[in-house]
């Protein structure tokens, strides 16, 4: 399902105006939410699914797919989002989890889900629950790309490791990954996830996008990085171009010029462990 988004950029937007800017910049989809992750982080409190009016307004504003976030495990929020007609639901660690043991049974829905993962085992558990699309988690709302790099390297590295194993070693590999054997065996044979893999969490510049694309990502999510920067429209366009020409430094250099201030950002290492979003999800 999510194959059609490949090579593209999905942008967080909080209203119809931002959604139009994203579409005009060449986004392949928008993520409708009330506050971008940087603001959720700054303001604290419980973060929940967005008001249906806000989502309706964004759906009406653009012709590209509209995604929206539900809390981890909050299947009633997901039911609401499906009823609103969103194109994808992101069961997201950016919102406050509703269930600290279970994720949503995504097979129970018609609308496809995207889920975050920090490693291959987590990605495979989400796929087993019905996720049609996986993104690395990174550390949302920071503008620090280091965790996104860690996660995409981890996921792709663990896939490469599986490819090197003998068939009789895949049983233990499945046990260690805490993932179903059949899925592990399939990935060992194909060398890729059975669903589309994007990177999210901390991407703020065209170079960040080029970096994670070269590491094996099939597209990128940009959250706070665009509308928390000095020049959202130009930066959005530049990240779209860098994602397409990720392996051409001349293009990435050209689009990186004169973009003004990137989002200020927070170093992930300055965030105390309990406040990190990447640890949400099980």
């Amino acid at each position: 399902m999510a194959e059609m988004l490949k090579g593209g950029v999905i942008m967080d937007v909080v209203d119809a105006t931002q959604a139009k800017i994203a579409e005009d910049a060449g986004a392949v989809a928008v993520m409708a939410l009330e506050r971008v992750p940087a603001d959720i982080r700054a303001q604290g409190g419980v973060a929940r699914a967005s008001d249906p009016d806000l989502i309706d307004g964004i759906i009406d504003a653009v012709s590209i797919p509209v995604m929206a976030k539900a809390r981890i495990g909050h299947f009633a929020e997901a039911q609401i989002l499906q009823s609103l007609g969103v194109d994808y639901i992101d069961e997201s660690e950016v919102l406050t989890p509703a269930d600290y043991a279970n994720h949503i049974d995504k097979w129970a829905f018609n609308v496809p889900f995207v889920c975050g993962a920090t490693n291959l085992g987590e990605a495979l558990r989400r796929i087993t629950e019905g996720a049609a699309f996986i993104r690395s988690k990174g550390e949302a709302g920071t503008g620090d790309v280091s965790n996104a790099v860690t996660h995409i390297r981890k996921i792709t590295g663990e896939i490469r490791r599986l490819q090197g194993l003998r068939d009789d070693e895949l049983y233990v590999a499945a046990k260690e990954l805490q993932a179903p054997f059949d899925l592990v065996k399939e990935i060992a044979a194909t060398g890729k996830l059975p669903v589309t893999l994007f990177t999210a969490g901390g991407i703020a510049t065209p170079a960040d996008a080029a970096l994670v694309m070269q590491l094996g990502s099939e597209g990128v999510f940009v959250g706070s990085g665009i509308f928390k920067s000095g020049n959202p429209s130009e930066r959005a366009e530049a990240i779209v171009k860098a994602t397409t020409f990720y392996d051409d430094p001349d293009v990435v250099a050209k689009v990186s010029r004169g973009l003004g201030d990137a989002m200020v950002g927070i170093n992930v290492s300055d965030i105390p462990e309990p406040h990190r979003l990447e640890t949400r999800g099980w």
Partner: protein, 198 residues
């Protein structure tokens, strides 16, 4: 034409890899096309599924738009699936304000005609030129509302009592509203490779 044609897959955005894999299984040399120099090497071109607004914008920015229009006009076999069908259409309904297409196919396409992602569906479809039905996957798919006289309709689906055109051929141009690149049935790509090699 050589027996092993070089077929480009327009690769500014979309499900490029699936098309490349299908073309290679059929014995073509498949290359990705992001630059005019790559387009110049192609005997035929595939326009993949993806977002037509993004494709249009990037094609304009990276100076691929006019070269593709010129090649299509001068007879390069071209195959569009879903968003690629929109890019081939002469006329688009429900596009964005400034959206342009490469054109060439004398049809009016309605974007997102079948509805949103939840309205995506799949089913078996009879397609003129193929003996057995194809399994067709429609994802936020367009349909053709009106086709000119020179357009041959290959397949239609019934929606609320009306037949909607979902596959056409017009000379060197082939287009489907669905995604034959998703799955392992290469027969529709086979029709296109035949168009390129004949």
């Amino acid at each position: 034409m050589t027996s092993r044609p070089t077929i480009g897959v327009f690769a500014l955005q979309g499900d490029v890899r699936e098309h490349v894999a299908a073309l290679e299984r059929l014995g073509a040399t498949a290359i990705t096309v992001r630059r005019p120099s790559e387009l110049a090497q192609c005997d035929g071109l595939v326009l993949p599924g993806g977002e037509s607004t993004t494709m249009f914008k990037l094609a304009r920015t990276f100076e691929l738009f006019e070269p593709i229009v010129d090649r299509i006009r001068s007879g390069m076999p071209t195959f569009g699936t879903c968003a690629g069908m929109i890019m081939l259409a002469d006329r688009v309904k429900d596009g964005t304000r400034d959206q342009e297409t490469f054109g060439g196919l004398d049809v009016t396409v309605r974007r997102n005609a079948f509805g949103r992602q939840v309205d995506s569906f799949e089913g078996d479809l009879s397609l003129a030129g193929l003996a057995d039905p194809v399994h067709a996957v429609f994802i936020r798919a367009p349909w053709i509302e009106q086709a000119g006289e020179s357009v041959e309709v290959l397949a239609s689906v019934e929606v609320a009592g009306a037949d909607r055109i979902v596959a056409v051929r017009q000379g060197h141009l082939l287009a489907t509203a669905f995604h034959p690149e998703v799955g392992d049935d290469d027969r529709v790509h086979g029709l296109f490779v035949d168009l390129v090699t004949q």
